[in-house]
Structure formats: C-alpha cells, structure tokens
Assembly symmetry: C2
Homo-oligomer: 239 residues x 2
C-alpha cells in the first residue's frame, strides 16, 4: 500500500484518544446520575436484544432501565425493548460503522431522561472485534456469546474476552446439540481473564437470568449518588 | 471529535483504492492460474471452517482445493483444513485487524502452489460488516449465516447480503429449535439481492453440501485457462 502503515496507526491512535476523552465525559455524567451503564458486545445473532428483553423483565419493579440500540440500519430493536418495558430507548444507526463510538452515545444521552434511570444498556453493533477498542463511558463491558457459535470463540477473539468485566454464555438450551465443550470454554476464558464472572443463560427459557440480574443490581450500588466520584474510568465489573 | 470526519473518510477511501488495486492484481493472477477463489464471509461462529471442511470432502477426487485462513490469532483452522484434505493451507493472523485485506492475501498466495489448485477458499475474519468493503481478488463473495443467529441478519447487516454472489444458510438442523422464519429470511435477502443463489446446508449432517459443491464446480468453468481474460473484476457468482 502506498499509504505507510505507520501513518494509519497514528491517525487511528488519535481517534482513539479523542474517543476516550468523550467516553470519560459520558462516564462522569452517567456516574453522577447514578446510572449503571452496560456496554453489551457480541457477534451478530448472539442474542443481545433478547438478553436485554429478558433482563428488563427481571428488573421490573426493582430498577428502571433505559436502552441505547446500535445497529448498522433499522429501528426494530428500539421498538422491541420499549415494548418490553424499557424506560426510554434510543436507536443509533451507524451507517457503515461496525462499532459504536463515544460521541454517538453522547448524542443519544441527550434523548434519555437519566434522572429517571437506574441502569442503561448499550447494545453495540454485532462484532466481536472492533467494539473492544472503543470505550463508550460504560461501567461494565459485557461480552455475550451464544453456545451455537462454538466453544472456540475465546481462542479466536481473545481481546474481547480479555477486556470484558462480565461474560454471558447464552443459548445454553442448545449446548448439547452443538458439541459445546463447557470446560474448554471456561478454561479458555480464564486464560485470558481470571476474574470476570461467567453467567450461563438461556434467553429462550429464561434460565440463569435471575442470577445475572442480581449481580447487575449489586454492581449498581457502587455507581449511585455520592460514590460516583471514586469510580473514575475504572470498570467496576468483576470486583 | 477534533479530527474532522471528512478527513477520515478521505484516508479510508484512499486505503480502499489501494486495496482494490492489489485485489485486481490477485484476481488476474488467480484467473490466469485457473483457480476459482471464494471469499467466505460470516459472523463469528457461523461455521466457516466446518463449511470448508465439508466442501473439501465433497470436492475430493473432483477438484484440488487450497485454503487461506484469516484469524485474529491462532493457527488451529489451517491445521483443521489440512487434516481434511486441503491441497495447501496458509494461516494469516491479522493481529487486531477485523477483516482480511488484499495485500495479506497477496502475501499468502506466495506460499501456495497455484498450478496445483482448482479452487481456493479464503476464510475471512468473523465479521458481518467490515469484510464487505475489502475486495481480496476473489471470483465469488460468499456470505454464510447460521440459523441460530436468527432470521433477521439480512435486515441488520444489509451491505453484506447485498454484496454477496452466493448465500449459504448453515445449521439448518437447528432451524426448528430457534424460531427461524425461512420465508422471512428469503424475502429479506431478495429485497437486497435478487439474484444470488441461497444454499441451505447443515455442516453437522452434511445435508445440502452436494448441491452447493456442484454449483461451485460449475462456476469454475468460467475461470479456467483462456477464458480468464474475459472476467476482469466482475464477480461470476449468480450468473
């Protein structure tokens, strides 16, 4: 290529530094409002929206949750989560962009009533690679993987699993049908990430959702009100 | 962001133009050697490697196939396809890159004996977004989607389905377990792409692989020997 690789890296790094600055601003704003924010990252078809819907059901009467939906195109997910009881939902269409960036989330925050929320789910674009590098201002980076994708995803996409504060294995109802080696999956995750909790769920049956929802609400304790100043940009998941 | 969006687009376009130049060079080289080349694009866990393995089995004694494996990390896929009878395999590790680019394939071609091949499979990094824009020099762009990913993938990731010359629906053995609406899937694909054939396969059972393999070999007729000059960069799939 005639454009030297080094130059590209420099520009890429500058974009990431700019992104981190906006992400820090989002993080402060969300912490001050006491809104625990979860960046949900996964491959296409892992079940991100179904997972949010199930979690909204589990949080009903316990916490008010909003949703930011990131998609290449369409608004079907925002409609789905509103119907499932989200206290506000904003759809971001990224055009061709394969991941959300902090400034997109910043704009979306203008359209949400943060004082009316306890939790905010940000559904990233389906992609196990690029979202890893782009902080959004979240408190918890969550990686969702479907059992039908295979037990080798941590080996194939190590940065995503290393960077996550919580890992959710979805579609456990299919586990026996797809030769998924649960022990291999766990040991692969642990080689990359010793601390993050791994939640087994089935969004089809609802199995495992209560345990995850309890953990999520426990994380919220660290974000609300006056504690927020202590948080900085450090992720609170897994601690 | 302080870096104007316009500037980023310009650099991105320049990179794509450079990439297209290398892709055209790869395409000429592969056409002159009579090697039908298939760029296999899919989300993580759709079953790209299993699909290549099943196709290698179906081509045994009928065509000699090589494989270029693109992954963020690891070499397990190259070992797998060699064990399944590939006539040569090259592993590309992209580091953090979420898609293959033409110059990576150009380097990999140095390590393959093209005169000994009829077909070349290029397994892209698992990603339904970015690979769409990056031509590699292939004759056929193939999009593989697993039924467990849901019937809404064409709606969510339209550029990939619009750009493909052939679409493979894998994991059809799971179709009744995951509320996959086959008619909705087909109509969504057709709205984006009126011509590309859609192949239903199960890499678990092998169902549907012979039909796909016959189609693939028929495509090869257009690539071999003296006909190659007529091909240029036009995709031959779906014709």
């Amino acid at each position: 290529m005639s454009v030297p690789g080094v130059k590209l890296v420099t520009i890429g790094e500058r974009l990431l530094v700019d992104n981190d600055r906006v992400a820090a601003r989002n993080h402060r704003r969300l912490s001050e409002a006491g809104v625990l924010t979860v960046n949900i990252m996964a491959a296409p078809g892992a079940g991100k929206t179904s997972f949010i819907v199930r979690t909204l059901e589990a949080l009903r009467g316990r916490a008010r949750a909003g949703v930011i939906e990131g998609d290449i195109a369409g608004s079907i997910d925002a409609e789905t989560v509103l119907a499932a009881g989200a206290h506000g939902a904003v759809q971001i269409n990224t055009g061709g962009n394969c991941h959300l960036e902090a400034d997109m989330v910043e704009r979306a925050l203008h359209d949400l009533d943060l004082d009316g929320l306890d939790v905010l789910f940000v559904e990233n674009v389906g992609n196990l690679v690029c979202p890893t590098q782009w902080a959004l201002g979240e408190h918890v980076k969550l990686c969702l993987v479907g059992a039908a994708e295979g037990d080798d995803k941590p080996v194939k996409y190590p940065p995503m699993f290393a960077a996550s504060d919580a890992i959710v294995l979805n579609k456990t109802d299919l586990i026996d049908l797809v030769d998924f080696d649960r022990a291999f999956f766990t040991s692969s995750v642990r080689a990359l990430n010793p601390a993050a909790p791994i939640f087994d769920v089935s969004c089809r049956s609802g199995a495992g959702i209560p345990v995850w929802a309890d953990w999520l609400l426990a994380q919220r304790q660290g974000v609300s009100g006056r504690d927020s100043a202590r948080l900085g940009m450090a992720p609170i998941g897994g601690t």
